[in-house]
């Protein structure tokens, strides 16, 4: 009996970890010598065709070819009844109907009753009815996880779910009256000199008023050593 996998059920946060264990069909690292007597009892004899490493594919359901005892992990295929090892079926909860999952195990969709995100309406812009911003979901499998336009290219397990927060307003556009780069570069140099002079005067005043080097450094956002090296000799 194949279980449909199009809609993913609500899952426990640790289920991914458990599933990794479940997906490993035999042992952890090789076969145990203490069980050697049992080796020829099993269907496949000594050479086990079963997977000994956890499967890292991002799918919920595995298919087991019971004829050959070989498991294959094909996306979207179901696990035959009776070969579910008694664990996955219990964890698989239908998205609608059946047992109502506890609040912590509900999907964001169930929890917040918001429409799924679209490219033009990403999740972060969704306002809840009570006025709060939609809280970001960090669950890897959650469709309400914050996703940027590049999310298809991201690795599922390694990249943080948070999208980039670089703000466009950080870029400065040159005033329109500046036509040549020479003028802009001269302005940069002049600003640097001005900042240097201002820093000299400000540090001098602070030290005169009894500030410590540590306080001055903290105010400037640099290390104490840096500000001391720069100004101690002249003050």
């Amino acid at each position: 009996v194949a279980v449909p996998t199009t809609a993913r059920p609500a899952r426990h946060p640790l289920e991914r970890t458990f599933l990794l264990l479940i997906y490993r069909r035999s042992g952890g690292i090789g076969r145990r010598a203490r069980l050697r007597a049992l080796w020829d009892v099993v269907l496949w004899g000594f050479e086990s065709p079963l997977r000994h490493q956890p499967c890292t594919h991002n799918h919920a359901i595995r298919r087991v070819d019971s004829n050959r005892g070989v498991d294959s992990c094909r996306r979207g295929e179901g696990l035959p009844a009776g070969l579910n090892w008694g664990v996955t079926a219990a964890r698989r909860v239908a998205p609608s109907g059946g047992r109502e999952p506890p609040y912590g195990e509900r999907t964001c969709e169930q929890r917040f009753d918001v429409p799924p995100p679209t490219p033009t309406n990403p999740v972060r812009n969704v306002k809840l009815t009570n006025g709060r911003q939609f809280p970001p979901c960090t669950r890897i499998s959650c469709q309400y996880r914050l996703r940027g336009p590049q999310s298809k290219n991201r690795q599922l397990g390694l990249t943080d779910g948070q999208a980039s927060t670089i703000v466009d307003t950080m870029t400065v556009k040159l005033p329109k009256n500046i036509e040549e780069p020479e003028e802009a570069l001269a302005a940069v140099g002049a600003l640097r000199r001005l900042a240097d002079r201002l820093e000299d005067a400000a540090v001098e005043k602070a030290i005169e008023e009894g500030w410590s080097w540590a306080q001055v450094a903290e105010a400037l956002g640099v290390t104490r050593q840096a500000v001391h090296k720069k100004h101690a000799r002249r003050l």
Partner: protein, 154 residues
């Protein structure tokens, strides 16, 4: 190959004056414009039409114009007059900025080009005004000095 040496007046007077100019302007190191100001105090350079006071005004004007171009109006405040400790050159007891170092390199090239064993103040001036960009050409332009014509007179 014979090494070019700094002429005594450059070594003992011009560089010393440049250091004083840098200190007055609040620079952390000797800049090319400090060298120019120090050179303009020399009689042989002054006679070429470079006046110290005029250059000072032009440099201040250049800075004000540069900042005004991006809408910054500078409050007048006294420079502290105490230069920062920078990496010191053995020659000056004060750092040489990149612009000043480049000017010195160009001056050395000028002097070796004509086969001189000594780097004089005129060579140094040639090195300073050879910069295409930066404060020196801008200030000279503001002061109404034609660089090509000045170079031909040197």
């Amino acid at each position: 190959m014979a090494r070019t040496r700094l002429a005594a007046d450059v070594r003992e007077e011009v560089l010393y004056e440049a250091k004083g100019e840098a200190r007055q302007a609040g620079h952390g190191a000797v800049e090319a414009e400090d060298l120019l100001l120090a050179l303009s105090k020399r009689p042989e350079i002054n006679s070429l039409g470079l006046d110290h006071g005029e250059l000072l005004r032009a440099l201040a004007d250049e800075e004000t114009r540069s900042l005004a171009a991006i809408g910054v109006v500078v409050p007048q405040f006294e420079p502290s007059g105490k230069p920062r400790a920078t990496r010191r050159s053995a020659l000056l007891g004060m750092g040489l900025s990149t612009s000043a170092r480049n000017a010195l390199v160009r001056a050395l090239q000028e002097s070796s080009k004509v086969g001189h064993q000594e780097l004089t103040s005129r060579h140094l001036l040639l090195g300073v005004i050879a910069a295409e960009h930066g404060r020196v050409p801008r200030a000279l332009k503001i002061a109404g000095i034609d660089i090509d014509e000045l170079r031909s007179r040197i």
